[in-house]
């Protein structure tokens, strides 16, 4: 009766070394990258929600290719801000509202949460509006589609684990390619478009400047920062996987702007050149495409709108519920059960029900709600941006991963530019709401 096990140490040591060598192979590295991919791609692509698509369609319809030059600076701005969130997530392991609470106290956190709730409520209304107008192009009544959409979105999050939901969202991202096909079917002048992307052609009239402002305002929204940071934290991405996290953010920012490019090119090549320059929103753009680029282009456009709206309708309430629960100290996260995190799930439910419900009420003051939501966003964005830059420069939080001086310059310049632009948008939103149609 003995206890020991005979092992041939040398042979086993050799085999153990073999096991470790295998991990250096390329496919392992790819698997590591794929394991991390997700938050960046999803966040950036949800950026192209109903409001975004409407804005981009308008940009193409009203100004042709003239606004394409802003895409590259916007990609940089998007990457810079999102990368800070990714970095904070992997280094501190905490969400953004957690950090704001711990470093700045209760009241600033409360303010951020209230603003976030109002803005996101407006955004959710916009998403369901997008669903409603998209399905009407396919001939389905909004009174059937919106409740079904609300239910689908609600069940998806309640029943899934983070990983399942993430996979579905990533799959939905691929449907954005519909816009690429739509653009190709529109037969644009690719050379002209390329030229305008690289060479700025700024017009100094208020309509143009307002459109630039609206573009920036719709591309960079604070909910993205909270959602992305929370996603990386929930995936437990550590500092060792920072390179992969950064790759995810780059991939997200680039694909987002590529889709925007196709949307603008599509409407520019069709609506702008044919003189249909005054469309009100994305659904009208889709309809107007039919005689110019064929039924398929139109359907693809509408499908892209539906996909984006559903997608955003799932993510925005989630992000908002997260922000509020994190800030107030309630349990949150879709990996928790309903009983474990009741406030989180109730907030999510309320946002969907109210957001969807408002669309179904006839003659609801949708326009006013959307404009107000934009104004709130203009107040929220500067505060969150400044908090983020302050946090990321704290050595006691980030250790050696604080911003380098160059990065700080870029970050500050980007933030100041965005703050200035959003203040312009608030001004117009409050005092000349009709002129702010573009920034839906």
């Amino acid at each position: 009766m003995n206890w020991t096990i005979n092992t041939k140490t040398e042979e086993l040591q050799r085999r153990a070394v073999q096991v470790r060598r295998r991990s250096k192979h390329l496919w392992r590295r790819l698997a590591l990258l794929l394991a991390v991919l997700g938050p960046g791609l999803i966040t950036s692509n949800v950026d192209n929600d109903a409001g975004g698509i409407s804005t981009y369609s308008l940009a193409g319809a009203q100004f042709g290719y003239a606004l394409l030059w802003s895409l590259i600076p916007m990609t940089i701005a998007l990457y810079v801000t999102e990368e800070m969130c990714a970095r904070m997530a992997v280094v501190t392991g905490k969400g953004l509202s957690d950090l704001i609470r711990e470093e700045f106290g209760f009241r600033p956190t409360f303010f951020v949460m209230v603003a976030g709730f109002l803005v996101d409520l407006g955004n959710v209304v916009a998403e369901f509006a997008g669903v409603a107008s998209a399905v009407e192009i396919f001939g389905i009544s909004r009174y059937i589609a919106v409740p079904i959409a609300g239910l689908v979105v609600w069940v998806l999050v309640l029943r899934g684990t983070y990983r399942q939901v993430e996979k579905i969202f990533l799959a939905l991202c691929s449907f954005y390619l519909a816009y690429a096909f739509s653009a190709i079917l529109a037969k644009p002048d690719w050379l002209d478009a390329a030229r305008h992307t690289v060479i700025p052609s700024v017009q100094f009239n208020s309509g143009y400047l307002l459109m630039v402002t609206a573009l920036v305002g719709t591309t960079i929204a604070p909910w993205q920062f909270f959602y992305m940071q929370a996603s990386f934290v929930e995936k437990r991405i550590g500092a060792r996987q920072y390179p992969q996290a950064r790759a995810d953010v780059i991939a997200g920012s680039v694909t987002c702007m590529v889709i925007v490019f196709f949307i603008i090119v599509c409407t520019a090549a069709t609506l702008y050149t044919s003189g249909h320059r005054n469309i009100a929103d994305a659904a009208e753009a889709a309809r107007a495409l039919v005689p110019l680029a064929g039924r398929w282009a139109s359907l693809l456009f509408a499908f892209g709108l539906l996909n984006a709206s559903l997608f955003a309708a799932s993510i925005l309430p989630l992000s908002t519920a997260h922000v509020i629960c994190e800030g107030l100290g309630f349990e949150a996260g879709i990996d928790r059960k309903f009983k474990e995190a009741p406030i989180f799930y109730w907030l999510y439910t309320i946002l969907i029900v109210v957001g969807g419900g408002l669309i179904l009420i006839p003659r609801a003051p949708l326009f006013r709600i959307l404009v107000l939501s934009q104004v709130a966003n203009g107040v929220w964005l500067p505060v969150v941006l400044i908090f983020m830059i302050l946090l990321i420069n704290r050595r006691d939080l980030m250790g050696e991963h604080v911003n380098s001086p160059t990065f700080n310059v870029i970050a500050w310049v980007t933030s100041v530019a965005m703050i200035a632009l959003t203040l312009v948008l608030i001004y117009f939103g409050l005092f000349h709401p009709s002129a702010a149609t573009g920034g839906l």
Binding site: M1, W3, Q13, R20, V91, G93, R101, G238
Partner: protein
């Protein structure tokens, strides 16, 4: 009872009735007394702040404190790492509730007043983590204390007694100065401890593990998400990592090592000595989705000619046997080949002189180390096993797969 939010920001007046400054911080000296407010920091705008000691305060009310000395007798402010600052270190920070076994965020701190010959001492009684504290923080300064008190009465209260509060401090030196110990954590079930650790940031997790003894650390790490475990072990010194890993079961140890980067796992393996190292290396050589990758090398096997009485006596004498490994005893024949297993229940009910050969159950179920996971799951299900023997090509037992490892694997797939 007072609340920290009511005292902070209050006006301080000295013995002559003149205004000294505003209370901007309350300090506790854990080395002296773990719950008494020892110093009050009084901010004076552009002048240097002053410190009032607990025995210099004659009365405290919401929004105001009165001192029993003159302003010139107060000492100037100097920082002291051995002091716990209520506003900076407690409010809005996360702490561990050792009673409720979770991580919570502090909204406010409840203080009791104790009068002792002319002075008032404030002592921390509870930490407020609910809506009452949140309401107070929100409205402080915007409404009078009386109004705030009336509002808070309508809200449900959630508080944690100070004795159940465990602070989380990543800096080890400061941990010593603040006398932060985690002995309450060591008494918790490892699964609860792992749950708590999953809520914390990486630096805080590291801090908790650093202050636990090796046994508790090993148990907690074994229950933790494997990615987090790898992250924690990577940051440790190899000697400490090896000490902790030695306390783990070999299969868990192998899982942890497999998750480390090659350089770190090499360092740790070198620190592991003798038998443990060999066992872990054996397990590392198997593919993780095979029977060999699921098994542990700690199991009990006895010759089939032994009687029940002899087995019980022998097991009692062996101090190194973990009672968790005893739910199934494996039986070997004269050639040391696997010949059956006996559930501990059967052993319990048997007579003293019954031999193991008579007790072992039919049929003989075992699996090769390169068998796939699916086959292992199927065997467990079919024969209602609690442990499954893994045998080498010559039929000798080399490891055992326990049912809780099967459950963990199955959950990963869900």
């Amino acid at each position: 009872m007072l609340h920290a939010t009511e005292v902070l920001g209050g006006e301080a007046y000295d013995a002559n009735g003149s205004f000294v400054g505003r209370v901007s911080e309350l300090f506790i000296e854990p080395a002296d007394q773990p719950n008494r407010v020892a110093r009050y920091l009084l901010a004076r705008g552009k002048y240097l702040p002053l410190l009032a000691r607990h025995d210099q305060v004659s009365s405290v009310a919401p929004g105001m404190i009165k001192l029993n000395v003159e302003e010139k007798e107060l000492e100037h402010f100097h920082t002291n790492e051995a002091w716990l600052a209520v506003r900076k270190d407690l409010l809005d920070q996360q702490i561990i509730d050792t009673h409720g076994r979770k991580v919570v965020r502090v909204n406010d701190v409840d203080l009791s007043e104790q009068r002792t010959n002319g002075t008032v001492e404030l002592r921390v009684t509870d930490v407020d983590v609910g809506l009452t504290g949140a309401a107070r923080r929100l409205l402080q300064g915007l409404a009078s204390p009386a109004v705030i008190r009336r509002i808070q009465q309508k809200l449900p209260a959630r508080t944690i007694r100070w004795e159940f509060v465990n602070l989380i401090e990543p800096d080890p030196l400061r941990r010593v100065k603040l006398r932060i110990t985690h002995d309450k954590l060591e008494k918790m079930h490892p699964a609860d401890l792992a749950d708590i650790m999953e809520e914390l940031s990486p630096a805080e997790r590291q801090a908790i593990i650093a202050s636990l003894d090796e046994q508790t650390a090993a148990e907690a790490l074994a229950e933790l998400d494997s990615r987090l475990t790898s992250q924690i072990v990577e940051k440790m010194a190899p000697e400490r990592a090896a000490d902790i890993i030695e306390e783990m079961e070999p299969d868990k140890a192998a899982d942890v090592l497999a998750g480390l980067s090659p350089e770190v796992s090499q360092d740790v393996l070198e620190e592991l000595q003798g038998k443990e190292a060999r066992e872990v290396e054996t397990l590392l050589s198997y593919d993780e989705h095979s029977a060999g990758g699921m098994m542990t090398t700690e199991f009990v096997y006895v010759g089939e000619t032994a009687t029940r009485g002899e087995v019980v006596e022998w097991v009692r004498q062996r101090a190194d046997i973990n009672s968790e490994n005893l739910d199934t005893i494996f039986v070997i024949d004269g050639d040391a080949k696997f010949s059956g297993d006996i559930a501990v229940g059967r052993l319990l009910l048997a007579e003293e002189d019954v031999t193991l050969a008579q007790l072992k159950s039919e049929p003989l179920v075992s699996v090769a180390p390169d068998a796939k996971e699916k086959e292992v799951f199927a065997l467990f299900d079919k024969y209602n096993l609690r442990s499954l023997a893994v045998v080498d090509r010559s039929g000798r037992p080399i490891g055992a797969i326990a049912v809780d490892d099967v459950i963990t694997r199955l959950r990963e797939k869900l």
